[in-house]
Amino acid sequence: MSAIRSNSGEGATPPSTSTVDSIYRFLSSVRFAILVLSFIAASCVLGTLIKQQAPPQEYLKQFSESTYAILKFLRLTDVFRAPWFLILVSLFVVNLVLCTLDRFGRFLKTRKDTKIPSEKAVSAMANRFVVRNRGADEVVSLFNGYRTSAGDDRVRLLEKGSLSRYGVYVIHSSIIIILIGSLIGIMFGYRGFVTLNKGETKDTIVIRGEAGKAVPLGFKVKCDDFKVSFYPTGEPKDYVSRLQIIDDGKSVRQAEVRVNHPLTYRGTSIYQASYGSDPAFLFDIGGQEVRLAQGGVYKKDNVTFMVVRFERSVHNFGPGVMVAYIEGNEPKTTWFLKNVPQMRERQVMGAAVKLTEISDDFYTGLEVSHDPGVWVVWTGFALILFGLYINFFMYHRRIYVVRTEDGVLVAGASLRNKEAFREEFEKWRKKINGSE
């Protein structure tokens, strides 16, 4: 590893440097970056191989009790929120900032003192040719797309793609911006969940990961309607909630929320996440209408029964409800089948009970998130793509035009994409000198 050194001045530390200085050098070195990134990658591997944030029973199925205790102690069951992981990320940020500033400082310095090379240096470059029938000014004007950035009356420097040299700094800064954006989200944002039946209104949500903690939304959400449509194969095709936002007693917004199309109000976004159904059963008991949910108990006079089971399809006879009751000290159950007339009505503990309707109402499951940092993250995303573009799809090249005694000497060099540059340079030679 010691054989090849970059120009970043990480060479052997002179004995006179202080400890602080050498710590600074280590923290800002590319070697430290490689180390920290490797550790982060390894933690990510652990964080996917070991199930994260699962209930203890799940771990105990897989590991022994002592192994689970060790995993829990090392926070390997919740890697991405573990303090040591946050420390790793912080070290990465420190390194990235120091490293980038360090390099940028040196880059600005070298940029400031762009030296015009000597005629001898130019005539030693690999890509070069001599023009005899044109003047230096004319040659310079032929280089379309290049701009003259420095020079005197003898040597002139033309450049193209110098923006690409800023690519690295743009990319590194974007990563910092993205991390700042996510930190804003972690500190000032929240994520939660709310379920709404048709017609229901709520003003609180249940926070994720905090055991059912309810948090006020600051406004009310009402579900006016909810619809699910299915493909012929039975898979869900679309689910849509028609929501109403009620703020200060006034209906301020009405919108359809479907998967991939959230609704945002006052910085809080509401996403269609899931749905479920709460079947309700209407019974006619001796001329009286009773509505029961699953697990619901009817108790009046001497009649007591409980809805214990609901099936959408009982042996192809359509939906059915199982009811349990006690008769002569014996627990008994019986099925009510909605679509079979003779099985819709039964005697339960001496009373005539009839299943009149099964209402299978869907409720909507909405994910709610408030993330004030998201625009910072988006800005970082846009910047990093721009940085990657200028860094990887543009490259910096230089052309030198030198007035000499036997004509105009043209030479060129690029640090990257040497092969492509050689071909480009060959084209310039043909254009300026003709294919001789």
């Binding site: 090849i4 590319v30 996917t48 996510s182 998967v259 993250v377 995303f381």
Partner: protein, 272 residues
């Protein structure tokens, strides 16, 4: 069998043909054979594209209407299409027939597996609501172009370990192709991760949730970021760089297949 499956079946045979033409070239050393191989590759790529478009059109006829990017079969077919595309785009840089031979073989392997394996569902399936988004196209496209470019760097990395005069190109050429392809793959992977994050924000309400697929794409990204820094800043050369290219592709393969089959998560669409 639907028309798209028939076309893609013919495309599979054409990839076999491309691989065989490479073998003929290695045996005879006739440049003409290699030139003809490129023509067949262009034609194959054209027909492959037609196959994808026909599948897209057929999905509308079935009333499902979505781009052929949604299940395992479609992702395998699309992956080999991306490999062919990257080969064509990088033609000038891939100066070694052994590289194109193996890249064509990888493309053949994936499309062949998709067409022949009985466990791979070949029909057009409905698109679940979470996948019904325009982000699907740009996300899958950028990711798979990246995977294809990384496949080429992987092939170079493997050949770096061997020597075979006149068949395996010199080490310098291999190294050059390795990082040329990573320089294509890395920005594409970044774009793929970012478009995925934006999409996740609109579909699930969070741009990053440490889902196994997300996490593995980050691991892959870190490996290639390490590659670039080791190569350009620390000046790593030779075997170490080749090893990094191999590890990187191992991570790609795990992101693509391993996560679907071994780890469960939000992202298990490609598995069925």
């Amino acid at each position: 069998m639907a028309l798209n499956n028939q076309i893609l079946g013919i495309v599979t045979l054409l990839y076999v043909c491309i691989f065989l033409m490479h073998l003929v070239f290695f045996a005879t050393k006739k440049e003409k054979v290699y030139g003809a191989m490129w023509l067949v590759l262009y034609a194959t790529f054209g027909l492959h594209s037609v196959g994808l478009i026909v599948r897209w059109i057929e999905s509308y006829k079935l009333g499902l209407g979505h781009a052929p990017l949604s299940n395992f079969y479609e992702s395998l077919i699309f992956f080999s299409w991306c490999i062919a595309l990257v080969l064509i785009v990088m033609r000038k840089k891939l100066k070694a027939p052994i590289i194109t031979a193996f890249a064509a073989f990888v493309a053949l392997f994936f499309i062949g597996y998709a067409s022949l394996a009985p466990s791979v569902e070949k029909g057009i399936q409905p698109l679940i609501p979470a996948l019904q988004s325009n982000w699907l196209h740009v996300h899958v496209f950028t990711c798979f172009i990246a995977y294809a470019a990384f496949a080429i760097s992987f092939i170079c990395g493997i050949f770096y370990m061997f020597q075979w005069k006149n068949i395996i190109p010199p080490k310098d050429t291999l190294e050059e192709i390795t990082y040329q392809s990573i320089m294509v793959g890395f920005p594409m992977l970044t774009a793929g991760i970012l478009t995925g994050a934006v999409w996740a924000h609109y579909a699930w309400g969070s741009y990053w949730s440490w889902d196994p697929k997300e996490t593995w794409s980050l691991i892959t990204w870190i490996v290639y970021a390490l590659f670039l820094h080791a190569r350009f800043t620390r000046g790593w050369k030779g075997k170490r760089i080749a090893v990094l290219a191999i590890i990187g592709f191992g991570s790609v393969i795990f992101t693509y297949f391993g996560v679907n089959f071994i780890l469960a998560g939000l992202h298990s669409y490609g598995a069925s």
